[in-house]
């Protein structure tokens, strides 16, 4: 018998529950997609589950017209937030992993704790602070919030990574006369490119998906996509099919990142559980 022939094994029955779960995970995606591609005249809650008769872009066009400013706000906020917090995390992680100064092991858990706090507990002071420094309402304030409250997770990810770099490499560099900055720029920074990808993706995703900071720190002009979409969903005027199309537009950037760079995304996820 050919080894390539498919041979039924009883354990393949275990695929059934997995296929059932597949349906569970795909149902919301299915509704989002089919509704988005229906023409206006065939949209009805009654035929929610039916496939579209053809491919129409009415819903996407209308959703985009309504959400375009906030999509751009999100992009303009997320890119600097992700880049700045990655560099900050890299520098902190480097110092905390390598050069143990007195008190480092007290400071580290204190930084970590910041990763888990409910942000409600800093929200009132944060809003007051942003008002006083005149950064309330706009995107720079939101970027600042994401960078600062991103310090714990970015520091942690980089510290765990730098702790795995063999001491010998750094020793060798120092013997060759490299100081702290040179060791960082010429040795650790190039080595940590994968960690940069992990942290950039992580910060990109969490800032893009954030709602709490955005809803309290920005005015309607600066609303990122999550706040605008939620506002759209709460309005009676905008039809549900446009909301579905808008949801897909709001999810698309992070979904694309997940599809193309899923491996790195998963590593960030695990770092969030302190598992390095």
């Amino acid at each position: 018998m050919s080894a390539l022939r498919f041979r039924f094994q009883w354990r393949y029955l275990l695929l059934l529950p997995l296929l059932f779960m597949t349906v569970f995970y795909l149902v919301p995606m299915y509704v989002m997609l089919v509704t988005g591609f229906k023409a206006f005249d065939e949209v009805s809650l009654k035929t929610m589950w039916a496939l579209p008769r053809g491919i129409a872009f009415d819903n996407y066009i209308e959703a985009y017209q309504k959400l375009a400013p906030s999509l751009w706000n999100s992009i303009n906020m997320v890119v600097p937030a992700a880049i700045l917090s990655s560099f900050l995390g890299s520098i902190n992680g480097f110092v905390l992993a390598r050069w143990k100064f007195r008190g480092a092991d007290i400071i580290f858990p204190l930084i970590l704790f910041g990763m888990f706090i409910p942000y409600q507990s800093i929200l009132i002071p944060l809003v007051e602070f942003m008002r006083r420094i005149n950064m309330y309402g706009g995107l720079p304030g939101l970027v600042l919030a994401h960078v600062i409250y991103g310090i714990p997770i970015t520091t942690l990810t980089f510290r765990n990574y730098y702790a795995t770099v063999p001491k010998e490499i750094i020793e060798a560099a120092r013997i060759d006369g490299a100081d702290l900055i040179k060791t960082y720029l010429h040795i650790l920074l190039p080595l940590s490119l994968p960690s940069f990808v992990v942290v950039l993706i992580w910060q990109f995703t969490s800032a893009w998906n954030d709602f709490l900071f955005a809803v309290v720190l920005t005015n309607p002009d600066s609303w990122p996509i999550t706040v605008a979409l939620n506002n759209m969903a709460g309005s009676q005027i905008i039809a549900w099919n446009v909301q579905m199309a808008g949801s897909l537009l709001a999810a698309l950037p992070t979904l694309l990142v997940y599809f193309f760079l899923g491996r790195y995304f998963l590593r960030g996820l695990m770092a969030g559980a302190l598992k390095g």
């Binding site: 529950p17 800093i122 714990p152 100081d179 999810a251």
Partner: protein, 297 residues
């Protein structure tokens, strides 16, 4: 040589100082500031730090709305954490059986993690449309056409248990995460261990019961803490599915409304401090445990 080393130490301190100062101010300073606000009578647009002691806290515990919040948080946490753990463990065990399509399933179960609670909420809001009769739609309509009428329900508009429907959407979003954690744990259990048990005559079921599940318990604990603290903070998912309705109220929504719609900053701060205390009770032992383990390795 010594001078050179000192310069590096100074530089190290200079490099991390901005971040440490930022964390000190924006996390610990702000927490202290919130605590101070929670002990004040500040109500209105202008700050008012007149000391009222624990008045805001005492009033909260007498407040009927806060009782609803506590009840909803408990139901949500039990359903969400329990459901995610069970589903995650089941999927991880299935994916660990060397079945065809493993990578596909794994990636599929994890993709909801990449999208926001707001998007999830908006989509589930329409799936969980509670209308019945001629206006039936969403999942209820699907159940109806599949002959699964007994599954038709009022979702988040069900009295008392409505919050459990929100937890279902949260399970959809987060169970892939527990699956990934458990799968990582299963992969780290050596095949020799299972082989040895088989040689000793243990059945597959006994291997899971006596060897694998006990080895996975640290992961269960981690996942419980991670998911537990997420469920205490749940906010955007509820807002996107149901808006700000009293029957689905939780502390985070109450805090938001009382502070930013009602301008009762003293009370809002008290809610946020209580949230922080409960989250800390979960998270501080967890951080200590993790750091200690790390030091032991």
């Amino acid at each position: 040589m010594l001078k050179f080393k000192n310069r590096d130490t100074l530089l190290s301190i200079a490099l991390v100082t901005p971040s440490i100062v930022a964390v000190a101010i924006f996390i610990y300073g702000f927490i202290a500031w919130s605590v101070r606000v929670s002990l004040s009578q500040w109500k209105g647009l202008l700050p008012d730090y007149t000391w009222v002691g624990l008045k805001n806290y005492i009033e909260l515990f007498r407040d009927a709305r806060f009782q609803v919040d506590i009840r909803n948080t408990i139901i949500f946490t039990v359903v969400f954490v329990g459901g995610s753990l069970l589903l995650g463990l089941l999927m991880a065990i299935l994916l660990d059986q060397n079945l065809p399509g493993e990578t596909f399933f794994r990636n599929l179960f994890l993709f909801p993690m990449a999208i926001s609670f707001i998007v999830t909420g908006v989509v589930w809001r329409w799936l969980m449309n509670p209308a019945t009769g001629s206006r039936i739609s969403g999942l209820n309509q699907l159940f109806d056409s599949l002959g699964l009428d007994f599954l038709i329900n009022r979702w988040h508009t069900t009295p008392f248990w409505g919050i459990a429907a929100i937890a279902l959407a949260a399970i959809w979003q987060m169970s892939g995460y527990t699956m990934a954690m458990y799968l990582g744990g299963l992969r780290s259990i050596s095949d020799e261990l299972r082989e040895a048990a088989r040689v000793d005559g243990a059945s597959e079921w006994q291997i899971y019961q006596h060897i694998i599940l006990p080895l996975l318990s640290p992961i269960t604990l981690s996942a419980m803490i991670i998911l537990g603290h997420i469920s205490l903070k749940v906010f955007d998912l509820i807002v996107a599915i149901a808006g700000k309705q009293l029957p689905l109220d939780v502390p985070a929504i109450y805090m938001w409304q009382v502070t930013f719609d009602g301008y009762f900053f003293g009370k809002g701060a008290a809610i946020s401090v209580l949230l922080l205390v409960v989250v800390s009770l979960l998270v501080i032992p967890y951080i200590r445990y993790n750091l200690k383990n790390e030091a032991d390795v």
